[in-house]
């Protein structure tokens, strides 16, 4: 999976590339708009990450060139400016997502994965599973080691999200947005509490814990060898 980052700030670009490479993506980085546009049009990328302010050609111009060339690659914008007009402008031109600096890397990673997943045809699953945890999407039932677990609707949605994206670190803001449709930065600890309650039902009775906290970044559902 090849990604292209066009970012003129060397430090930001370097860390983004390192982070994405370590997350399993093959990432290229360029620092100016002209090279960026050339690569975006000729290379076979699965996703573009564009800074708005760039030397040569700005992010919007690159996006325009890409869209008018008939390419349907998902585009994620990064910007230091959070003007509503900017956001609207970017989305009008066909940007797929938008992140305002300063953003958390875990947030970026989660959004990149969402965008890449959007492209692939979603298979109609009936079950989600990890180790002995099993979630039945049709009957809306959850079992662990054969024992039924009673969950509220939101707890079910939260566990479904963790299972669908198992192995990924999900930031709190993404969970609030996906499960509760709360799309704002909030310093409330609702998510922590919700995760703690879910753990109580899913993990507490079992020696192998599945829900893990990644300090300062979010939560992940995965099997870990203790």
């Amino acid at each position: 999976m090849k990604l292209l980052i066009v970012e003129d700030q060397p430090k930001t670009g370097h860390y983004l590339r390192q982070g994405l490479n370590e997350a399993g993506f093959n990432t290229e980085l360029v620092a100016d708009g002209i090279t960026g546009q050339h690569l975006a049009l000729t290379g076979d990328y699965a996703l573009l990450i564009l800074d708005v302010m760039l030397p040569g050609r700005d992010g919007w111009q690159i996006l325009q060139a890409v869209r008018s060339a008939g390419l349907d690659i998902p585009v994620l914008f990064l910007t230091a400016r959070d003007a509503v007009e900017d956001r609207v402008h970017g989305l009008e031109l066909g940007a797929d997502d938008y992140l305002v600096k300063p953003f958390a890397f875990s947030e970026l990673l989660a959004r990149v994965r969402s965008l890449l997943r959007r492209g692939s045809a979603a298979t109609q699953e009936t079950h989600l599973q990890l180790a002995d945890l099993r979630l039945d999407l049709i009957r809306r039932r959850v079992e662990r080691a054969g024992q039924r677990i009673d969950l509220t609707a939101k707890e079910f949605a939260l566990l479904e999200m963790l299972l669908r994206r198992q192995g990924e670190v999900l930031p709190k803001s993404l969970i609030a947005s996906q499960v509760w449709d709360m799309n704002f930065d909030s310093d409330t600890n609702v998510i922590e509490v919700a995760i703690r309650r879910l753990r109580l039902k899913v993990d507490d009775a079992h020696p192998h814990k599945l829900i893990h906290t990644v300090r300062g970044m979010g939560y992940v559902l995965e099997e870990r060898n203790a």
Binding site: W180, D185, V190, V193, G216
Partner: protein, 453 residues
């Protein structure tokens, strides 16, 4: 072009008024004297005419006239300014005592004024015997130079009066304007003395004349507002610096201490995690402050979509449910209301209120969100049980970085005290108002939003 000062403007206007008044008085006086002189001359000429008619009574032709003409110089000598011409009915000149004057004097009957070579005359034509159609004509010519001299002197006097009085009023006017405008100068001195460092200066309103008192009042009110905003701004900057100082010093210390000697991988990881927490807190603070700055610049423009507030509140209550259950706080909603507003922004505003309420509601307490339509729009109130807030503290609640309990946070990952300020900005961006009421055992935040724009 340089503009005239108020003082010079007033002085010039005064001078112009005096000039116009004295000039018209002079002109009137001049006119009156002139008609008075005409009357006097008419009387004089009438008397002469009567005398001449007496002495020349019965004269019908030139021969008769020649016989009586010896008497004429004596008659004429009585008034040296007077000259006489006598003509026959056919226009033939019989007698002429005014040889210096041209022949073609006006011939119409009655009194005429004219000026020949710098000397003014009145010419009076009358028939010798008004009852006869072919009577000889008498022409009396009166030299009125002395009248004219008098009138000219009058005119000079008038011009002199006009210019002197104009000058005098200009000077007096300038002085009067200067002393009359003294409060205005004082005002501008105060205004000039106002700067960012001395916004406390005020104009003495009670010492101002009534015309300026209102201006002084608005000026003082403006100063008060400026002072207030400036105080807030400087307090805000100081607060920002203070808020950032704690996490920054944590970051510096922790990083430096960690780097002083080799450590285990676990230690490094722990340091990075701790730094991450500080950094996240700072990022959140910066984002919140940018949001507030945008609101201050009027850049927070809510979208207007039709919203059922009951649905929004229910979604929020569901979101906060896990937190509320932890402390066994009941959450409930009453009533319904709809409006056109920005879903994301209003959710954020209400979530700050709910988050805040949850912090201060004791175990087993209750939080009620009430929605109702009122006269001018709708009202959303978020009420929680628990210790009330002192009335003196209510107005400060919405100030940035205000915390009900100052000891609550110093470097911890607690909220920065911007939540209520953000809520207020969002409410204001929707054209509404927010206030807080509190009593014994309850606290209530009330948002009033207009439903139409």
């Amino acid at each position: 072009m340089r503009r005239l000062s108020l003082g010079s403007r007033l002085a010039l206007l005064f001078a112009a008024c005096t000039a116009v008044v004295s000039l018209s008085a002079g002109v009137l006086f001049n006119r009156a004297s002139e008609s008075h002189f005409i009357e006097l001359d008419q009387q004089l000429l009438d008397a002469r005419l009567a005398a001449l008619r007496g002495s020349l009574a019965g004269v019908g032709n030139r021969e008769d006239f020649q016989q009586r003409r010896e008497r004429l110089p004596a008659e004429l000598n009585l008034s040296p300014d007077l000259a006489l011409r006598v003509s026959g009915a056919d226009g033939q000149r019989w007698f002429n005592a005014a040889n210096a004057l041209p022949d073609d004097l006006p011939t119409q009957a009655g009194l005429t004024s004219l000026r020949i070579e710098g000397t003014a005359y009145r010419v009076f034509n009358a028939p010798l015997d008004p009852s006869k159609a072919d009577s000889p004509q008498l022409t009396l010519i009166l030299d009125i130079t002395h009248h004219q001299h008098f009138l000219q002197r009058m005119q000079h006097l008038i011009w002199l009066t006009v210019s002197l009085s104009a000058l005098a009023t200009a000077l007096l006017g300038a002085w009067a304007a200067r002393s009359g405008l003294r409060p205005l100068r004082r005002m501008s001195e105060v205004a000039a003395g106002v700067s960012a460092s001395s916004l406390t200066q005020r104009l003495p309103e009670e010492q101002m004349p009534p015309e300026l008192a209102e201006l002084a009042q608005s000026f003082n009110a403006m100063l008060a507002r400026l002072d207030d905003s400036f105080q807030r701004l400087s307090a805000f900057s100081a607060d920002i610096a203070h808020e950032l100082r704690t996490p920054l010093s944590n970051l510096l210390t922790h990083t430096q201490v960690t780097l002083t000697r080799p450590r285990t991988l676990e230690d490094y990881r722990e340091t990075l995690h701790s730094n991450l927490e500080e950094l996240q807190w700072m990022a959140q603070l910066v984002n919140d402050m940018l949001y507030l700055a945008k609101a201050d610049h009027g850049l927070l423009t809510p979208r207007r979509e039709a919203l059922e507030l009951a649905d929004e509140v229910d979604a929020l209550l569901e979101f906060f449910m896990p937190l509320a259950e932890e402390s066994r706080v009941r959450l409930r909603r009453e009533g319904k209301a709809s409006l056109a507003g920005d879903r994301g922004m209003l959710r954020r505003a209400l979530s700050n209120l709910l988050d805040n309420a949850l912090r201060f509601t004791p175990m087993e307490g209750e939080i009620a969100v009430k929605l109702e339509h009122v006269a001018q729009g709708l009202r959303v109130s978020v009420e929680n049980t628990g210790e009330g807030i002192a009335p003196g503290l209510l107005p400060q609640l919405f100030d940035r970085f205000y915390r009900a309990d100052p000891a609550r946070r110093e470097g911890s990952s607690e909220h920065a005290g911007l939540g209520l300020a953000i809520t207020q900005s969002i409410v204001r961006a929707h054209g509404g108002q927010i206030r807080c009421e509190s009593g014994v055992g309850w606290t209530r935040f009330v948002i009033e939003l207009p439903t139409s724009h």
